[in-house]
């Protein structure tokens, strides 16, 4: 609150002085999801410096954080975001369906518009008393799992899909991605049934269904409910020092999903505000060595080879599958699993 206030005063002061003495000051609004606070605080400072040096223009980057789906809704309802940096492509798709940016937005930046990636990590109580090593342990009787509601939380969708994908990998073996191309194969159908039964068992072990990642963390760490929490790897690694003192430990499963948070320029908004060039440069700067380094420092997995090598030590080597490989992309995954009456809803129908 206080920071916001100071920011607002600073913005007003800068704006006032800027209007008087320098050229115009540009304002960018970056609408993002919850755990990117620290990342963008650092990145924005660097970008402001870079842009000033390159063009002489002063930029102020304002940030908005919240649950990914909620943030997408806000943009649809008129929040004037120049860029969105959300937890999953599905949320940006929803904005594009309302005509705010073209449908092929994901092709406009390298790596499916994901400058950095992440995956999931498990948090368990000190000493790992329930001996939880991987997804397979989540269905055991007496293990309470904390994960938010996939209907309302971005990370919860990744959690759900990681577990589902893990079962497919276990059932179909190493060449599971190739075998999934043939959905009529009886072995594939059997594996999908196994995955369905498995995820139902996992959610039977969920005692509280929070609506967002931060709420779930509070339930686990502060209220001490549950034996294991599933959350973003970057968020868990970032707060690992605090977490150690809170009496919890990190476990990273050996097979998991590659989470690709996506970034995009919101065309309708930048064209109206005349901020397209700076918004575009802002996102491209995320792919620069500076941007990649900041991502790595904040425990996101960088996509450039140099930065990835530099930070490889902090990330355990695990086998990662993508949503395109296993679920046929976000629109398909949403339709099958998370839409009303989809797989997730059926878990709770007795």
């Amino acid at each position: 609150m206080q920071k916001k206030l100071i920011g607002a005063i600073l913005a007003v002061v800068l704006f006032g002085f800027g209007g008087m003495s320098f050229a115009e000051t540009i304002e960018l609004l970056n609408v993002s999801y919850d755990p990117t606070r620290e990342l963008y605080r650092e990145f924005n400072d660097e970008f402001v410096k870079y842009w000033k040096e390159k063009t002489g223009q002063a930029v102020i980057v304002r940030q908005s954080h919240g649950g990914s789906g909620k943030q997408a809704r806000a943009v649809i309802d008129g929040l004037e975001a120049d860029v969105v940096t959300l937890a999953l492509a599905g949320d940006v798709d929803a904005i594009s369906e309302r005509g705010l940016l073209p449908a092929d937005w994901q092709k406009r930046l390298p790596g499916n518009s994901s400058p950095y990636t992440s995956t999931l990590a498990l948090l368990v109580r000190k000493g790992n008393p329930k001996n939880i090593k991987s997804w397979g342990d989540l269905t055991r009787v007496g293990v309470q799992v904390i994960t938010p509601n996939p209907k309302t939380s971005g990370v919860a969708r990744w959690n759900y899909l990681a577990i589902w994908g893990y079962v497919l990998r276990r059932e179909l073996g190493k060449d599971y991605v190739a075998r999934l191309k043939n959905p009529q194969d009886p072995a594939v159908i059997a594996a999908q049934d196994k995955a369905r039964a498995f995820i139902t068992k996992v959610f039977k072990n969920v005692p509280v269904l929070d609506s967002g990642a931060r709420d779930a963390t509070n339930t686990f760490v502060q209220r001490r409910i549950g034996d294991v929490l599933i959350n973003w790897e970057n968020e868990i690694l970032l707060s690992s020092n605090e977490l150690a003192s809170a009496g919890v430990e990190i476990v990273i499963p050996e097979v998991s999903i590659l989470a690709e948070p996506t970034v995009a320029v919101v065309d309708k908004n930048v064209d109206r505000k005349g901020t397209r060039s700076v918004a575009q440069a802002y996102l491209e700067y995320l792919y620069s060595p500076v941007g990649q380094d900041i991502a790595g420092r904040n425990y996101y997995r960088p996509t450039s080879r140099e930065a990835a090598a530099k930070y490889s030590k902090q990330f355990p080597k695990i086998e990662l599958f993508t949503i395109d490989d296993v679920f046929g992309g976000w629109p398909e995954a949403t339709r099958v699993h998370f839409a009303d009456g989809g797989e997730f809803d059926r878990i709770y129908i007795p």
Partner: protein, 276 residues
């Protein structure tokens, strides 16, 4: 019409004030509500029923929302009466502070009361820690929802009964006692009939507030589908899935049901006044 016969009123002209009332009510209440109906009318009847009436998950949420609000309002009507009684009939040190405390749930952001209650009633909290070994979990069960709604509804129950009790002369009770009535008889034949209408309006207000309450319940409920998921949360879930029609349909059903319930309670109140 004889102008002199009209009573003088403080505010000018019936026409102006009535016009203002209608405009104001339209802007603040009728137009938003009409919008809700228009929105949901874009659904066909079969769609409307399958999404907002017959879906088992939605039905469970209605049952929970209305049931918990009903139980909480009943408890509030009972204990709110006791609190009001103490505040009206007795003088004691710190009475003003107690009186002010009653309004606190109004002033508190509902999220704050929700988080506080959850911390207290979770199995690691002060109260929850005592109840859990007895096999009475409160947080993350329907009981937790009732607790939150009791807190939210308490001021309504107390503040509606208080003025009625203040208006009631102590002489009435004394007269009844001198005519040979026992304590229970005084309570049931003298006091209750006089204040029943205000207890009922307190109940109605607390009930109506409880049906729509979201902020505090959300934290303590646990939000499990079919078990502890309240109807307002379902509306929010629908909205987050970009399904505003489905959300509007649930809103309409809740509106119609609560309006009918409040209407029935008001009728009861009207009759109880007539037969006093």
């Amino acid at each position: 019409m004889d102008l002199k016969g009209r009573r003088r009123r403080v505010l000018p002209g019936f026409g102006i004030t009535m016009g203002f009332t209608l405009t104001y009510l339209s802007l603040m209440v009728l137009i938003p509500l009409a919008g809700l109906f228009i929105m949901s009318s874009r659904l066909s009847w079969t769609d409307f029923f399958s999404r907002a009436v017959l879906d088992p998950r939605v039905l469970a949420a209605y049952r929970l929302s209305f049931g918990a609000a009903f139980i909480a309002a009943t408890i509030n009507a009972l204990f709110g009466f006791v609190v009001a009684w103490v505040l009206v009939r007795y003088r004691f040190r710190g009475k003003r502070i107690v009186d002010a405390l009653v309004d606190l749930p109004f002033a508190l952001p509902t999220a704050v009361s929700g988080i506080t209650l959850t911390t207290l009633y979770a199995s690691t909290g002060w109260v929850g820690g005592l109840l859990a070994p007895l096999g009475i979990p409160v947080a993350y069960t329907p009981a937790g929802i009732v607790v939150a709604l009791i807190l939210i509804g308490l001021p309504f129950a107390v503040r509606t009964v208080q003025p009625a009790l203040e208006d009631m002369d102590v002489e009435l009770e004394e007269a009844a006692t001198s005519l040979g009535a026992g304590r229970l008889q005084v309570l049931s034949r003298v006091i209750l009939p006089a204040i029943l209408p205000s207890i009922l309006s307190g109940f109605t207000l607390a009930f109506a507030r409880g049906i729509g309450e979201f902020g505090s319940v959300y934290f303590i409920a646990g939000n499990m589908p079919m078990k502890t998921e309240i109807a307002p949360l379902l509306i929010i879930i629908k909205l987050e899935q970009y399904d505003s029609l489905g959300a509007a349909a649930i809103g309409v059903v809740m509106l119609v049901v609560s309006f009918s319930m409040i209407f029935i309670i008001n009728m009861l109140q009207f009759w109880s006044r007539r037969y006093q």
